[in-house]
Amino acid sequence: MTLQYGQVLSYVPDFLAGAWLSLQIASLAFVMGLIIGLAGAAVLTYGGIVARAPVRAYVSFCTNTPQLVQIFFLFFALPDMGIILSPYAAVLIGMTLNAGAYLTEIQRAGFQSIQRAEIDAAETLGFSRLQTVRYVVAPHIIRTLYPALSNQYIIMMLGTSMAAIFGVEELTARALNANATTFRSIEIFSLTALIYIGLTIIASALLYVLGRALFRVKARAF
């Protein structure tokens, strides 16, 4: 038996369209997770005991259970309570909640890296509150967190592949469909793997360049 890529190559445009959808899901979930994470991290750092407890429970629940089962739960258990989610919505909400928990942890480390002395110095120099955040605190936090955040983004990009299980037509789902019609399994999945590798390498490179240009992050790209 030999590998025959001829038939499979005609699926490339279809796969690339799927990859574009994967990218959209990952980016949307990442941005929304970032917002949840920011709120969570702020509560964990500055909140009282009562406020911290539910955030802590949320983070430790979401980081200790598989994302797949969380989405299964949303997709199959919520209809019992009268909430019916489309596959796309279930995947997006599941990924957002999961990412929110990890991003809470990451951003909490950022909040903890702020030092009192920095803020005092800014105050002494006559910076307003907004200026302190804009010129002192934010650049510092972004520079410390950037590698962890871009790593999380890449992890989420790979995580979008489980959307296929729920019938969202992203890259892996299209690969499974093509596999069901052509039976060129190895050819299809090696091609899919190659696309994922290319996609994440491009994303890593872009994030590296962006970090260098916007925030002067000095971290290795790979």
Partner: protein, 239 residues
């Protein structure tokens, strides 16, 4: 509050001896796949990271190939990797059990993750240590085991427990090839007529218990190791 009433009504039917045995068996399968896979992945990753060292392998192409392998495997989603392994076994004509396929996929992914992790542990030790060891005519492998590794454990250990826990969670994807682990057992129970809430809920709790326990063990080991290192450093101080 119809949901809670429904749960209370359903619980005695769900939590029977046989269902619990079924879930326990599935949990054991999850644990076996992730632990055997992770252990073999670690051995592989250790070998990869070691042969990536210029002090051990002077041949640049070999190191390049290893870097390529790690970078490629790390960037393939576990589901796609699993499918690749599944169909590779089929193509090669080897009669492999689902367990074998799952373990291979876990081991492959883990080898790339741990190689990266162990490499960063090696890099945390200053190259002067290598230079000093090689100058004293200590063979490279001896230098690695006696000088470099004892110092890099503290860097290697914390991420490796995190990777292990995340692999345990990722084995939930193995349900897609039909291997009976926790996620698949939840689906089966759900298809037998129990509500999704109770099936997926109890599986979520089981996953939580397993991965929480592993994180706790990891944190304990980390504390122990860091503590030991601190104690050992004390006599060297007055000089």
């Amino acid at each position: 509050m119809g949901i809670i009433a429904g749960l209370i009504e359903e619980a005695p039917r769900f939590f029977t001896y046989w269902n619990m045995l079924f879930l326990a068996n599935a949990a054991l399968n999850t644990l076996l796949v992730s632990l055997i896979g992770c252990l073999s992945g670690y051995v592989l990753g250790f070998a990869i990271a070691t042969f990536r060292l210029p002090q051990i392998t002077p041949l640049a192409p070999v190191r390049g190939a290893l870097i390529l392998y790690v970078e490629a495997i790390r960037r393939i989603p576990f589901l796609v990797l699993l499918m690749c392994v599944f169909f590779s076994f089929q193509l090669s004509g080897v009669q492999a059990s689902l367990f074998m396929i799952a373990v291979t996929a876990v081991a492959l992914r883990m080898s790339a993750l741990s190689a990266e992790n162990i490499r960063s542990g090696y890099e945390a030790v200053h190259t002067r240590q290598w230079d000093a060891a090689l100058t004293m005519n200590i063979p490279p492998l001896t230098a690695l085991f006696r000088i470099i590794l004892p110092q890099s454990w503290r860097v290697i250990l914390p991420p490796s427990t995190i990777h292990t826990v995340s692999m345990i969670k990722e084995t939930s994807l193995v349900s897609q090839i039909g291997f009976l682990e926790l996620t698949f057992s939840a689906r089966m129970l759900n298809q037998r007529g129990f509500s999704a809430l109770i099936c997926y809920g109890s599986v979520l709790v089981l996953y939580f218990v397993i991965s929480y326990a592993f994180s706790a063990v990891g944190r304990y080991a980390e504390r122990k190791l860091v503590h030991q290192a601190r104690v050992r450093r004390v006599p060297a101080m007055p000089a």
